[in-house]
C-alpha cells in the first residue's frame, strides 16, 4: 500500500509517496526539484523540517477564529496585517494572527484513490500555530501547539488499515 502525498507551502507545491518501507518526497528547490528519500518512519521528521515546525508561543487568547473560506483566502492572499477590514469581525485575536504571519502550509495523504485523503493544514505565525479546519464553506482557525501538530503528522502517515489511533481526538493543547 502506498500513500500519495501532496505538500503545499505558500504558493509552492511538492509531492511524494509513502509506503511501509520508505517515503519519497519531491519539493521545489530554486528552479529545480529535490527528491528526499527516507525510511517511512522518518517521514514526520521530514515534513516537520520542510515546514519549519519548532517551538512557538501559544496563541493568546487560546480561542478559535471563524472565517468564510473566501475571507480566509483573502486574508492569506493579503499576507500582511494591513488588511484589517478583512477580519474586522474577529478582533482582537485575528489582528495578532496576521501581524506575525510566517507561512501557511498543508500536507495531505491519500491512501486510497477512491477515498478523500487526510490533511494537516497550519498557519504559522510569530504568535503561535493555528490548525485550519475546513467544513464546507467555513474555515475555523483553531489555536494549536507544535506538539499537537507533531502528533498529527505522525497520524497522517499511518495507513487507514493500520490506524490504531482512530479514536484519538485531534489534540489542541499539548
Amino acid at each position: 500500500m502506498a500513500g500519495e502525498l501532496i505538500l503545499q507551502r505558500g504558493d509552492r507545491f511538492g509531492r511524494g509517496t509513502v509506503t511501509g518501507g520508505d517515503a519519497r518526497i519531491t519539493v521545489p528547490r530554486g528552479d529545480a526539484e529535490q527528491e528526499i528519500v527516507v525510511a517511512s518512519d522518518f517521514a514526520p521528521d521530514v515534513l516537520a523540517r520542510l515546514n519549519d515546525l519548532g517551538p512557538r508561543p501559544r496563541p493568546e487568547p487560546f480561542v478559535p477564529l471563524q472565517f468564510t473560506a473566501a475571507d480566509f483566502a483573502s486574508v492569506l492572499a493579503a499576507g500582511d496585517p494591513a488588511a484589517p477590514a478583512l477580519y474586522a469581525d474577529h478582533e482582537p485575536a485575528a489582528e495578532r494572527f496576521m501581524a506575525g504571519f510566517r507561512e501557511h502550509w498543508r500536507v495531505e495523504v491519500s491512501w486510497k484513490p477512491d477515498r478523500p485523503g487526510r490533511a494537516v493544514e497550519v498557519v504559522d505565525t510569530d504568535g503561535g500555530l493555528w490548525l485550519v479546519i475546513r467544513e464546507g464553506s467555513d474555515v475555523e482557525l483553531r489555536p494549536t501547539t507544535p506538539s499537537a501538530v507533531w502528533r498529527l503528522l505522525i497520524l497522517l502517515i499511518c495507513p487507514d488499515d493500520d490506524l490504531r489511533y482512530s479514536a484519538v481526538r485531534i489534540p489542541v493543547r499539548g
Binding site: D41, F42, P44, D45, P146, W150, I154, L155
Partner: protein, 149 residues
Amino acid sequence: MRYRHPEHGFAIDLPDDFEIYRRPPLVALLAYAPEDVREPFKAAIGVGVEDAKGADVERFTDASLVEQERDAGFQLIDRVSPGFSSGGGTRTLGHHELAGRAATVEQWRLVVGEVGYTITTTCWTLVYETLVHAFAAAAETFRPAEGPP
C-alpha cells in the same frame, strides 16, 4: 507502580507493565515498556539527576538542549514553560535517530535547589501517539527528593 529512588530520594509513578532496568548507565532510573514486536526498540522512561550548577530551570534546559543539538539528527519540535500542569519546570519535545530508526523524545525538567532533574521518555516515533498520555501521566507524578539524601 510507585518508585522511589533509594539514594536520590525522588519518586515517580511508572506504568505497571514497565520493567525497571537494575543498573542503568548514566541515569538514575531507566524503565522499559514491555516487548512489542512492531517496535524496533523498546519505549523507555528515564530520570537523570545532576548538579544544576546554579542554573534556574530555563538555563538548565538551555544547557541540556545544547548538548542534544550536537547530535546532527536532533530536531527540537516544542518547548513550553511551565512544563508541569501544576506549574514550574519545562517540557521539550524532539526528534532524533536511535539505532537507525525514528525516535521521539519528550522531556520534563525541574531544578530544586542545586539539583537538576530530567525525566526523559523515548519511543519509536510511529507509536508515540499510543504512549503520549502514559508518558505525560508518569511525568506529572514526579516528586523530587524532599530533603538532602
